[in-house]
């Protein structure tokens, strides 16, 4: 049982986390954040492994991981 939180207003929408999530739990969000970009959002289905790959690759330190 694990989960992540994403700081949507810091997110620049590079989508690197989306491409590395082994469970495909991160998706581009609808609408824009404060920066005017389409940020990403976490879909909590209970499958998150807490592997931290998304946090490790995020260039903007938007992701925190809980396990």
């Amino acid at each position: 049982m694990a989960k992540i939180t994403i700081d949507k207003d810091k997110c620049k929408g590079c989508l690197l986390c989306v491409s590395f999530c082994p469970k495909g739990l991160i998706k581009a969000a609808k609408g824009l954040n404060k920066r005017g970009v389409a940020a990403v959002e976490f879909k909590d289905t209970g499958e998150c492994l807490g592997c931290t790959l998304c946090a490790v690759i995020c260039p903007d330190c938007c992701v925190e991981v809980y396990k």
Binding site: A2, K10, G13, L15, C61
Partner: protein, 241 residues
Amino acid sequence: MGKVFSHSKSLRNISTHYCAGCGHGIAHRLIAEVVDELNIREQVIAVAPVGCAVIAYDYWDFDCSEAAHGRALAVATAIKRVRPQNIVFTYQGDGDLAAIGTNETIHAANRGENLTVIFINNAVYGMTGGQMAPTTLLGQKTATTPQGRKPEEGYPLKISEMLALLAGVKYIERTALSSPQEVMKTKKAIRQAFQNQIDHVGFSLVEILSPCPTYWAMPPRQALDWINNVMAKEFPLGRIK
């Protein structure tokens, strides 16, 4: 449920000016994590470059100085000699370290200064608009090589291999920010380079192949794959010295 990955204390919790998918943000974070893990936040002094990372001192929450373009290692030499108790590192791009600052880089390395150098190689001049850098690959399109770099414009400069020839240099490793696995290897190399300075080993440099999606004109994920498939062939990863 406990927090297993969170923001480093040495990194200010603010948004950076870097483009989406830029490797600088990852490199900044890795340095902040290493500084926190080695518990050297009160001793460390960074020397920021001129280039995209020119305002790195706004992002790190420890002491920083700024140097004129290419002169980071000269400034770092002075700081380290006056304050040997501090841990001094420079953070430089390829335009800064391998072009305008080649002179200062080679002589600081040859003197064997006990410094740590974090060298970000993204094969272009990012801040000024994506012009050709000494490290630009043959065939790579940039603002000043619209047909791709040709041999008469020079070959990609392998400054790390050149520096490895010098007796004063003790540690050089080339890593990449091309996947989470490679990012973790990069962190290990950065940690080693800082530990070397703490142990008075001598001049240590980590060259990091870093994505510049904007001036490589590709989406961020494709830029990471380009590092693996193209750039790492010209600049092989691993321990050089």
